[in-house]
Symmetry: C2
Subunit: 511 residues, 2 copies
């Protein structure tokens, strides 16, 4: 077992996280603290980090150091970004930190900051071509990703804190102040020619982007309160941008979801995002809750586990495995999970003519199958429903938010579709009527696969389905000498549901 502390000292906040890597290489977040130390305060005027800022940082770092001792943590990756990078007393400050707390903090370049943000995003959002921006207090890092590779990156020294100070956009900025701000931001961003008219989605990291997601979720009564991988369409952004740049400070604070400690900085932050939208011609912003810190972690993790690359090939597969790994002390029967996944996949493929679904639905079914029993951790009774909850909220990557909820629903019906379960679901409205038809069909397949391994001994080695008129003949090959009565009985219980969902009678033939 290994523990790693990560400290990320930006211009606005300092963050401290502790990650744990278990002996089976599954990792989890153990601890997290955040403090708005506003290190960049006054920096754009004076060029130095103020003594007050230094003191606020030292106070936090003393506490973090102390927690590391309490938690017996020996590995620490501590990085400082734009504020320290730009301040003339930055180096001296880091030496002082080292002398007073023993923490060795490294100031990283804009390029490295961009790269780490890219690592945090590429391992947690399943997109191939997009633009990342990481908008902090004193800089914005931009990375263009093509086919999953970072092809360009640049750090532009403008940020929510420094711009706010420069243009006085806290309080009640007038139209002129906003116009000057916008003009300045446009000019600075013109230094990044490769974002012009790319018409790709933009992925936003940082407090400003997250706060926009939160405001949009509140405005649209979005049921799930999860920011990572939330998609905000351009017109929603434009609407909020209008509100933010025209309201008085007092009225701005009333915008639902706007964080009170960010209500001053949001104007300048909004101007940067607006400019990025304008220049790229992007249709939407995807918000990433993962960035620099996750990038630092993945880098460490890859090295610790001797992985060939800190970028994972299949982030969904990796995150499912990781989640199951964190539960390995309580998960009981991996062979059963594997078997149910294998049989469900075979059934999906064989029944393709009846459902017509493609690789995406296949993936959702497989993911549901891989995790169908995790709810047993909560309670054996009604565990399918608890699995639905856990899958919806687990740290899985590679699915959209709605796909993750849907995957939970599919698993929730792994003993058959029940009104009781539907009644108990939250977020049922997040799936469309069409989604629900798909959920019903896929969960019927999953329930059949589950029933086929009723005795937990993986007797079914192969499934073939022959489709005759209105009949699906399911030919199940079993291991020599095995007893299939129980599985046969259990699968037959699903005949009525099968007929309803697929419009065909189910006929089982055992070999």
């Amino acid at each position: 077992m290994e523990k790693l502390a990560i400290i990320d000292m930006g211009s606005n906040s300092i963050r401290f996280v502790v990650m744990q890597i278990a002996d089976n290489q599954s990792y989890s977040l153990l601890y997290q603290e955040k403090e708005a130390i506003r290190l960049g305060h006054g920096l754009s005027q004076t060029g130095v980090i103020s003594e007050e800022g230094v003191q606020r940082a030292l106070t936090c770092l003393h506490v973090y150091k102390h927690i590391m001792e309490v938690m017996d943590i020996h590995e620490c990756r501590a990085v400082a970004t734009a504020a320290v990078r730009n301040a003339s007393n930055g180096e001296a400050f880091l030496q002082r930190i080292n002398a007073e707390t023993g923490i060795t903090m490294e100031v990283i370049s804009g390029e490295r900051e961009a790269y780490l943000g890219y690592l945090g995003v590429i391992n947690t959002i399943a997109m191939k071509d997009f633009l990342i921006f990481d908008l902090g207090g004193a800089s914005v890092e931009m990375t263009l990703v093509r086919n999953g590779e970072a092809v360009h990156s640049l750090s532009v020294p403008i940020g929510a804190v420094t711009l706010t100070e420069k243009f006085g956009t806290q309080g009640n900025p007038d139209a002129d102040a906003i116009a000057s701000l916008m003009k300045f931001v446009r000019k600075k961003m013109a230094a990044v020619p490769w974002i012009q008219d790319i018409h790709l989605p933009i992925v936003g990291i940082g407090g400003t982007a997250r706060n926009f997601a939160k405001m949009d979720q509140r405005a649209t009564n979005y049921e799930l309160s999860k920011l990572h991988n939330y998609i905000m369409p351009l017109d929603h952004f434009e609407g909020l941008y209008q509100e933010i740049t025209t309201r008085t400070s007092a009225n701005r604070k009333k915008i639902a979801g706007l964080s009170s400690e960010r209500s001053d900085l949001i104007v300048a932050g909004a101007a940067v995002i607006k400019t990025i939208f304008d220049m790229t011609g992007s249709p939407e912003m995807v918000v990433s809750g993962c960035g620099l810190r996750e990038g630092l972690f993945y880098e460490y993790y890859a090295s610790y586990c001797h992985l060939p690359s800190p970028r994972f090939d299949d982030i969904l597969d990796f995150s499912v495995k990781n989640f199951l790994g964190t539960l390995s002390g309580v998960i009981i029967n991996q062979a059963h999970y594997d078997q149910v996944t294998r049989i469900a996949t075979q059934l999906f493929d064989q029944l393709q003519p009846l459902h017509g679904y493609g690789p995406r639905e296949r993936l959702l079914l497989q993911t549901a199958a891989r995790m169908h029993d995790v709810g047993k951790i909560v309670n054996f009774y009604n565990h399918a429903r608890h699995s639905a909850f856990m899958i919806a909220h687990a740290p899985l990557y590679g699915l959209t938010q709605v796909e993750q909820i849907i995957t939970g629903f599919i698993a929730g019906f792994h003993h058959g579709i029940s009104r009781k379960i539907i009644r108990a679901y939250r977020y049922a409205n997040m799936a469309s009527a069409e989604d629900w038809i798909m959920i019903r069909k896929l969960s019927t397949i999953l329930a059949l696969a589950e029933a086929s391994d009723l005795t937990y001994e993986q007797i079914v080695t192969n499934v073939e389905v022959t489709l005759a008129e209105n009949v699906a003949v399911m030919i199940l090959t079993t291991t020599p000498g095995s007893t299939y009565n129980a599985a046969d009985y259990e699968m037959k219980q699903l005949s009525k549901q099968f007929k309803k969902e697929f419009g065909a009678s189910l006929l089982l033939v055992w070999k």
Copy 2:
């Protein structure tokens, strides 16, 4: 690690469960199967178990035996109840089971059946004085409990299956048939004089009682679909009884929640419960999902773990410990849980003049504190909300259903009250407006306790609160040489919430 199989062969169903006892003595349910073999079918006419019944039982038992082998289970407690007890070929049948499957099944007396049901109830429902009835297919076991002790018990050889056959109440019984049935049941129940006019709650075990709970939950749009410990008032029962005994078979089947395989037996079952209500003068029926099988398990568990008694002194404490025990592979910091519980309790006691709550609320707070972080298993992010879900659905005993939901809500706010969390809650309407006031106050106390152990090192050894006019002075004694800045800062973040909930300013003094 130990596994125990339990088989319970009744007149209507046969049930098979596998329990696991981990090395830390925490137990959990591993597997469960049920089959409606209707062993008692025809018994009241012929006096023997039919060859068809024998065959259905043997088919199931072969499967169960096979599963035991697959799961490598060597311990099995298999019992047969009234059908086998009453049949003239019962003994021969058990010998045949043994010869054909190797399973040694014991026919138990009505008294022992009643005792095991009592054990199942007394360890899972926190009541002291009540009457248990376990209504099966061929008998009803009655146990009078006074101050937690079983003071009388008796088995009466009438049950849902045998009565249905005797009075032909399947299908469309007319008023005369119902009247004859009721007259017969009353006469039989008159053999139990000690239930007369006891005016205590009745606790119902068995399929009929569970199905009444389900129908009532559907009729009242009860949000939670959990049957154990569900309370059904007399007038709700009377209403359903009317429907059940006057509708035609086709219309009866339309009653929401009525199990299709029980729609014939429910008439006779209803007559027995009606008679028990009438004779006892009870105000309500509490439904128990635990009975004979749980009793058998607790008996085994007590012996396996060398406990002085199969009856646990404090069932809430025991079930919380057991649940945490099942998670011990993933639960990280028991010392933190303990500290937060201790500090929350001290704060509750010291703030008593401000909130005026009593021992019950104290217990809910303590339970929330003991489990406040379990949601980290689902996801570190938003873990307070996930704790709320897990607490609401975990196998806890000793709380009412609503209390368990409330305990979850309290834990859900352990980082402070947030609108985001409230929006995300299902079952919020199950707590009354008054409950919500209590939840807010208790969760504020829990959040303070959590903040006091921010650094996970248990620095606070004692809390004393002095209440001056509109000010609560909280004097926190810490371990020598400890650093309390972080805890101080974190607790102060809750000042506004504290003021709102308790109407007093919070002043922290550190010693």
